[in-house]
């Protein structure tokens, strides 16, 4: 058996006559984008909440967009990514008074997903930036947890699991903070989304993190990094991910000699019995002259040629152990 549920996180940038733009630049660009993902064998598609109105406009509704994906060999839209990375007076997960507004905003996003085949994950950044949130205390984390317990109950009514994707520059980033957050959240309502690069940059081992929270894990971003944040970039305003002085590019595609041990993670995934989607994401692949097409091709090559082998080994080990 070879893992067939690979999805792509809609984070692509393409060259247009107006410079680099998302493929939603126009439908011809979308056609080419989706055909490329299809040629690579992706069958799931994750996207951002802020693209939904755009796709609805381009394809006569988000379900129309999903049909376009399906016409090109995809199964469905698998995940919606929602976030409040910058705290404002209206939306700040660590400020209880803003929670009603965030919940209402999530309801709006969920309404946009009505009529879809079956989105599985409602992926959220649990917090805003660390520098806007600090000091991060247990009480802070408790407030954040209360928000996502509420949202988790809401999204389940729509068939989606609220699953938390942590950033290295977010307010919940260390292993201790992660454990505290998961203690304060209801395991029936709030789940874990493992971004391999973000955890590695924050000094957290994503393989161990998955091992410890596999029963709550509902998805992954398979992406690599070559740097651990050793200069407290995470505390740097306004945006450590794009503007840290010490590191100009944090993220890389798999198979480029980064720090994440993907074969070990793949074996752990197989051993755990996880059977959900695995998602490839690229972030700023264009830095240094790279192209998203090539980065995605190289990542999928790595999946089919390296991770497939790790998967087969893990399945053989399981079989032997039976």
């Amino acid at each position: 058996m070879v893992w067939t549920k690979w999805s792509y996180m809609d984070h692509w940038v393409t060259e247009t006559p107006q410079g680099p733009q998302p493929p939603s630049f126009n439908r011809a660009y979308m056609d080419r984008y989706v055909k490329q993902l299809s040629a690579l064998g992706f069958t799931g598609f994750d996207t951002f909440f802020f693209y939904l109105p755009l796709y609805a406009g381009m394809y006569g509704g988000v379900p129309g967009f999903e049909r376009f994906l399906q016409d090109n060999g995809f199964d469905k839209i698998t995940g919606i990514f929602s976030a409040y990375p910058s705290a404002t007076r209206y939306t700040a997960p660590h400020v209880r008074e803003t929670h009603d507004r965030i919940v209402a905003d999530c309801e709006n996003t969920l309404r946009m997903c009505e009529g879809l085949t079956g989105v599985e994950n409602f992926i959220v950044m649990p917090t805003s930036t660390h520098h806007q949130t600090e000091p991060v205390t247990d009480d802070t984390i408790k407030v954040v947890a209360d928000l996502w317990n509420r949202v988790g109950a809401l999204t389940l009514q729509h068939g989606m699991k609220t699953t938390c994707h942590f950033e290295f520059w977010g307010a919940i980033r260390t292993r201790e903070q992660l454990d505290t957050f998961f203690r304060h959240t209801d395991p029936e309502l709030v789940f874990f989304f493992c971004d391999t690069a973000q955890h590695t940059i924050a000094g957290v081992d994503p393989v161990q993190m998955f091992r410890d929270y596999s029963d709550r894990c509902t998805g992954f971003h398979f992406k690599d990094t070559k740097n651990v944040d050793e200069h407290e970039a995470y505390r740097t305003p306004p945006d450590p991910e794009l503007m840290a002085p010490q590191v100009t590019r944090w993220f890389y595609e798999m198979g480029e000699g980064g720090l994440v041990d993907f074969p070990a993670l793949m074996k752990e995934i197989v051993a755990s019995g996880y059977d959900g989607w695995l998602t490839v994401e690229h972030d700023k692949a264009e830095l240094g002259g790279g192209s998203y097409a090539e980065a995605t091709a190289v990542a999928k090559w790595y999946i089919d040629n390296v991770l497939a082998e790790a998967e087969a080994e893990a399945r053989a080990e399981l079989e032997t152990a039976r």
Partner: protein, 326 residues
Amino acid sequence: MNGIRWSYAINQWKPQFDDFVRREQHERALKTISIAGFEGVELTYGTGRWEPLGNPQQLAANFGSVAGFRDFVRGCALDAVSSWYWDPAERSMEHLTGPLSPLAEADVPAIVARATELAEALAALGGSVLLVRPVGGAGDVEPLDDDAIGRLAACWEAVGRATSEHGVRTALHVDFLSALRRDHVPRLLDRTDPSLVGLAVDTGELTAGGIDPVSVIERSGDRVWHVQFKDALAVDDAEEYLQPHAHWTVRVRGGAREVPRWFAEPGVDGGLVDFAAVTRALQAADYDGWIVVESDQSPHPAASALLAGYLVQRELRPLVEGKEAA
């Protein structure tokens, strides 16, 4: 060869002489070709230190040996180098020779020797076809009279005989600037031994030259030893190919219309080639061999390979497999 096999031409990654020389660039390109669904790669002859994939000497210099390059290709999950394109008019820094002309009888021994080297390496790389530019551009050689056609036939038969000793076929690749454009191709084919010399059908070049590739396959299907699928975005209907130095003035610079790009990957918006029709014509001719997909210079090489892969996977390969299954 049993059945049709799909390969991709690497030339689109190299826009000019000192780009695309680093090992990691080659590795990423080969992996992209592989994951797009192709099993082979076609090389283009080149010479000198910025052409690591250009000829057997450079392969040895960069990979230890031709076998070392074969291991590199296989390490990228490709089965073979399907084919090699060579224009004898390209000089060789490795041999310190200038352009060779198949019209000049004195050049034939050197052409045969060079082709033999390429064929020997190609065989070691799992390939089976040496594509050659049979003669220069229409604006760069005298009109081809019967005597000239006879000299070309003799040259390429000698080459074909030499490459066949390594299990490699010699296929004439006629581009849209060629002095063999139009009715010269059948004249040359008719003068060559069908067991020694075949035809490479390049859909894009033929279409840009105003020639329907389907009609070529219908007429000369039994001589087709190699196929290249690339799309054409414009036709040289003003016959600018007759101008001297048309490689630069017409092919690269786009001629009087300044055509920005004559060619692209199959399936591109505005493409003029009907690839399903060409595929069906090849099936009708019982074609058995490589189909090499090309973009022939692309602003976005990886995207071109993936888009071509989409067309092959979803439309063209099912046509072929349907026929083979039947």
